[in-house]
Amino acid sequence: MTLLAAAAARLARQDMLQGLTGLLAALCLVLAMTWPGGSSVVNDSWDVVAPVRASLLALAALAWGAAVGARPKRQELGAAFVPTPETPPHGTREWRHEGAATLAALVAMFVVTAPFDVLSHAASYPPVSLGWSLLAPLLGTCGYFGLGLGLGRALRVGRLVALLPLAVPAVLGAAVWLDVTLATRAASPWFAVLGPSPVFAGFMLVLTTLAAWTLRPVREASA
């Protein structure tokens, strides 16, 4: 199975399909609310569309990354438990494949929502280049997926998986708080997209590398 097919299969599952639909609907709504209508000609739609897109993509990546990372290990499930293909135990080959397919599906979501960014950027003439406007959400998506993997695993190890629905938005909120407190663009995708930030890029690249290393295909030892 190719990565494209795996991503398509993952994206076609209800959770991600609803996520994609919700993301596109939210962007349509934001575009309709910020695009100039009537006699107004001032177009500053990018100022809202780009941060909203980057933040929603990061939130989605963090949530699905945490869900993948929080999967129990095979020995935690008990010998009698037979996992479905959608819920492979942590650390197995299927789990790595599932993680890679989820990340590929998130990247596909990034590409599918790119026209909203390009359209608002073209019409708004923001002070940020189109390259960074596209790169920052991609880095944020991959980086936050890696962060999600770590977050999910940490909660599983700490037996706090029940807190996962709270932890995901809390992490994103903490990133915003950190940037506001330090007056920087290091962690929050909302602020990062508004101006080139090497710190954010570096931070996200490290998290992406960790995610790629975690999901690397490994040959399992034969029983």
């Binding site: 190719t2 494209l4 097919a5 991503a7 398509a8 299969a9 994206l11 076609a12 399909l17 994609l20 639909t21 596109l24 609907a25 962007l27 349509c28 575009l31 309709a32 695009w35 100039p36 209508g37 000609v41 001032v42 177009n43 500053d44 596909a108 590409v111 599918v112 929502t113 790119a114 026209p115 909203f116 390009v118 359209l119 073209a122 019409a123 708004s124 003439y125 923001p126 002070p127 189109l130």
Partner: protein
């Protein structure tokens, strides 16, 4: 020991101390800054600025900050930076500066890494009344004649600036020959800059060259005029006040020209089109991904790429910055005082730079130095810049009762206030003014017409690139034509 031997060294020491003190006093820097003609600032007008510095360090720099803010707006600084050559002896810097109503003016001269001199001007003493500049030993008589409403200023001939823009706030320049003769260029600049130059009585031989400008009647010269008049001091005051009463006020003319925007910002794509395209694309992407698996996802990704390219092509305005301009030229005789207005509309945030003497029409922070004006402008905003007025040749004239085009460009949309539209004037063509059919005036000068006295002639030229509005106030005797 004899007393004389003790007194000798003391005297020597005293003399040395005096010499040292004198040399120190000589080396001490002294800076005088003067804004306005004779140090009299006219608010809401271009004023001459003169800095005389003595013994300041080489390569010094003058910084003047005008705080144009109010209690409501907060500080709105206009910063002027000028180089001062410095070194031993005198350094003189002259410049024209637009002085808007201000809260305070502070200045400092920097040299050798520190402040050499500094000072301030309080905003409480500012006055927007135009000046009546007198070159006379009998200035007291003029002060009495003009009364409390006038703002009579007694200056010496050397204090008169040579730039027409510097006379923006001068109503009249009166020369009666009792003081040192002014330079002909200064008097001509005053008339061209909008002042009424009054030659009062017969002038001595030292003032002979002024007779080149003087005539028995009022001789218009660009925005001003020259008047030779015999009579009492009261007659002079009456003539000045009468002349000022019939001239349309220039600040209002400039504001009227700027009343309509010079630039039309680009029309964005229609909201309905954008929302419909976004919704259809979203539906297609979700459906293709759900129903067709990998080929469906590949199609959605390809469609997203194509749509991004199309959005970039069709939604992006072609120019990030648009510039529109219009010039108002006040015609008098063979010359005109041209004030160029330039509107800059920027889509991305930018720093506007203009390499000439200019000011923004409205109060906003900006900076001027020897290279010109700099002003920060946020995205999707415009600013109207008003250039300092300059003297140009006028193509519009009244010759033997006919309107004449002496220029190289056709004069179009000619209008005589009180008579109506006139035929266009090709280069070299002439036409006698006649009553025309009333119609709406051209939008370039429509806002000007209510401010103009009867007989004023308005015409346009070069409207393909940047319109010039030629305006000759009260050029045609409309009542005389009606009688004929």
């Amino acid at each position: 020991m004899k007393p004389g031997l003790r007194a000798g060294p003391r005297r020597l020491a005293l003399a040395l101390a005096v010499l040292a003190a004198l040399s120190l006093a000589q080396a001490q820097a002294r800076v005088d800054l003067e804004i306005g003609v004779g140090g009299n600032v006219v608010v809401g007008a271009w004023n001459p600025l003169r800095v005389v510095a003595r013994d300041v360090p080489l390569g010094s720099r003058l910084e003047v900050t005008f705080d144009q803010g109010t209690l409501r707006s907060g500080a709105v600084p206009f910063r002027l930076e000028l180089p001062v050559s410095g070194g031993p002896g005198l350094s003189v810097v002259e410049h024209s500066v637009y002085v808007a109503p201000f809260a305070s003016v502070t200045w400092a001269l920097f040299g050798d890494g520190g402040v050499v001199a500094s000072g301030s001007v309080s905003g409480r003493g500012q006055d927007s009344r135009p000046l009546d500049v007198v070159l006379s030993r009998r200035s007291g008589n003029y002060i009495v004649a003009f009364g409390p409403e006038g703002r009579v200023v007694d200056v010496s001939a050397s204090q008169l600036p040579l730039e027409p823009a510097a006379y923006d706030g001068v109503r009249s320049l009166i020369v009666d020959g009792t003081a040192a003769a002014p330079r002909l260029e200064a008097v001509a600049a005053a008339a061209a800059g909008g002042a009424l130059v009054v030659i009062h009585g017969p002038l001595p031989a030292s003032h002979a060259e002024l007779s080149l400008l003087a005539s028995a009647d009022v001789s218009p010269l660009a925005a001003g005029a020259v008047l030779a008049l015999d009579g009492g001091f009261n007659d002079i005051a009456v003539a000045v006040q009468r002349h000022a009463a019939v001239r349309p006020p220039r600040p209002e003319l400039v504001a009227a020209v700027a009343a309509r925007p010079f630039v039309t910002p680009p029309e964005p794509l229609r909201l309905q089109v954008v929302v419909a395209a976004a919704a259809v694309f979203s539906l297609l992407a979700v459906t293709a991904t759900r129903l067709f698996g990998a080929p469906g996802l590949a199609s959605a990704l390809l469609l997203a790429g194509l749509l991004s390219g199309a959005a970039w092509l069709y939604a992006r305005p072609t120019q990030p910055q648009m510039i529109g301009s219009r010039t108002l030229a006040l015609v008098g005789g063979e010359l005109a005082l041209a004030t160029r207005l330039e509107e800059r509309y920027t889509l991305p945030a930018t720093t506007v730079q203009v390499g000439r003497l200019a000011r923004p029409l409205d109060a906003r922070p900006y900076q001027v130095d020897e290279t010109g004006l700099r002003l920060d402008l946020p995205g999707w905003r415009s600013v109207v810049l008003v250039m300092a007025p300059e003297v140009v040749d006028s193509p519009l004239a009244l010759d033997s009762g006919s309107l004449l085009n002496r220029g190289r460009s056709p004069l179009t949309d000619v209008l005589v206030v009180g008579l109506g539209p006139q035929p266009d004037l090709a280069p070299g063509a002439r036409a006698a003014p006649a009553r025309g059919e009333d119609g709406p005036p051209h939008e370039a000068y429509a806002a000007l017409v209510p401010l103009l006295p009867a007989g004023s002639v308005v015409a346009l030229s070069d409207c393909e690139s940047a319109c010039t509005v030629w305006l000759a106030p009260a050029l045609v005797d409309v009542e005389g034509l009606e009688e004929l």
